[in-house]
Subunit: 340 residues, 2 copies
Amino acid sequence: MSQSPKKSADQTVPTSTDVARLAGVSRATVSYVLNNTSAVRISEPTRRRVRAAAEELGYVPHAAARSLRAGHTRMVLLPTAHIPVGPLYGTFFNELHWALRDLDYTVVQYGSLGLTGDEAARAWAELRPVAVVSLGEITLNPRGVQLLKRSGAKAVVTLGAQRVEGAHSLVMDQREVGIAAAGHLLERGHRRIGAVVPEEPGLEIFSKPRLAGLRKAVTGTGATVEPLAMRYDEESAAALAARWRDLALDAVFAYNDEYAQLLMRALQDAGVDVPGHTAVMGADNLLMGKLLRPRLSTVQLELPPGQYLADLIDRLVRHPSEDVEDSGLMGAYAVPRESS
Amino acid sequence: MSQSPKKSADQTVPTSTDVARLAGVSRATVSYVLNNTSAVRISEPTRRRVRAAAEELGYVPHAAARSLRAGHTRMVLLPTAHIPVGPLYGTFFNELHWALRDLDYTVVQYGSLGLTGDEAARAWAELRPVAVVSLGEITLNPRGVQLLKRSGAKAVVTLGAQRVEGAHSLVMDQREVGIAAAGHLLERGHRRIGAVVPEEPGLEIFSKPRLAGLRKAVTGTGATVEPLAMRYDEESAAALAARWRDLALDAVFAYNDEYAQLLMRALQDAGVDVPGHTAVMGADNLLMGKLLRPRLSTVQLELPPGQYLADLIDRLVRHPSEDVEDSGLMGAYAVPRESS
DNA sequence: TTGAAAGCGCTACCAT
DNA sequence: ATGGTAGCGCTTTCAA
């Protein structure tokens, strides 16, 4: 063990009372000094004494006590169930973090693995966040939104496939991905389109709307869409590739670039020519796609800048009654390369 | 705007006092009922009345008030600066989450983007977490550890390359990765080994020790290690590949599988035979590596099970004085495939 | 310029 | 079986 137990005798956490005592002032003065309260003038020597005392004791204010007194927090809660993967969401997340921090909010990610919508909403409400940004992994229902608002959340924003009653919903409709993919494949003359649907749990919220978009774009064109269950492993891909000729497809939208790479390799190993026999299309436009041979056609997604969302949240927090328009915010367009 | 402003007239958050009033009991009784306090017997009819009142008001207890009263929290803080990428860390994270939740801890990820070690430690301490698990992205120094412990953190655990004084350090020495890679490459007879060092910020904490491990393993063998700066984009990889013959290397450890894929493609496009002219080795054993041609040799990392860490934290929380051995916990071994 | 004190919401001790 | 109440740490009004 690397800790030396010699100093840890004073196991008591220093409070502003301790600082006040050491500095020889009242708790009020301590609060004034450490918060730079401008409405009150404190002499410079006193300020120094207080700061020195705080420093010496290693005083850190108690956030819970502070927000209890204040009646509200500056916490923006970002519930996460699955860690979002990929540079797209990563970048968006980071941008949002920075922007919110600039606006003086405390950003907290709260793991909500395996909670139902109601349990999750309750757990979040206990923390009394001033805003909640749900990325659509968790099913936040109208009742949950109501609960959060009643618990003091000024802004409840959902980013996801569907609008949620009561919340401010930024609709990032993953169907756009399917629509963009279908548009491209149809344009290239493909008619029997397969659609990979990952079997891994947690991906339905992406895969289902992507498939739905594909179907929607295809209606009335005479083309067909065939869902193809597949896991993200070689065996599953090989099994799918083995029955490829029976499927009689001339194109496949592989859910995303990673599944596309996996399937394309399996198809090639099974002697299926890409794109001669079957076109393959991914999504997310990972760098990887350009490195494959043939180069992978994909769908590029565009998320709103994190700054935009941060500003929206800030506006909602300050003027909760304000009418802010919901809007469809995710763009998706095909990036044709060699595989289709 | 999708919210109807009709019901939001009562903007007041219900407290246990409101529940008590509605149920016609005291706040104490409300507390007893809602917390199932076993030390006190409450009649069944009363319980029902209280629960009904809580339900009707949409009462949610105030976590801050509760922990203020209790004098401690059950919060485990996981600071995050960069979102950890890759399935390895993702799985580890999820496991840890589940295990801690099972032990009745509240897991909170706290974004600490761009904070210095001292600022970060202070910000964390304000939340009075009972435990802090730093994944080594942030430089937590001994002073910070001290601050956290003084603020009531029973367990401060760091997972990273180096031990931190005062904290319980699980050393996950990334040098092992370099050592494993070098071992394999030397065994195959390579002598002039390149080492890709990503130029992207935030990766130094991995890349530096990996390089150091490579160097360490090579000392005394007569082989040499040549650092090669590279960004994760095609231009940078192509530029590196263009001067490949001048470098006169017979092997390269490419930091990880993704950089390896990128570089290998660039080398092939530049007419460099892999592995004939130059062996390429990645790390992290992504599925992708098996799909490349030649199949990518890599280094497999092994992290401790999340359950292990959760149990460790729980033990430290309950018996802070307990002597728990620090231990090197990351395993790394070469997975030879065709590219080397 | 500084201090005394109320009170945020909650739980747990002590009465009744 | 239930209620009264002190007090966790903090900020802020009001008084001095």
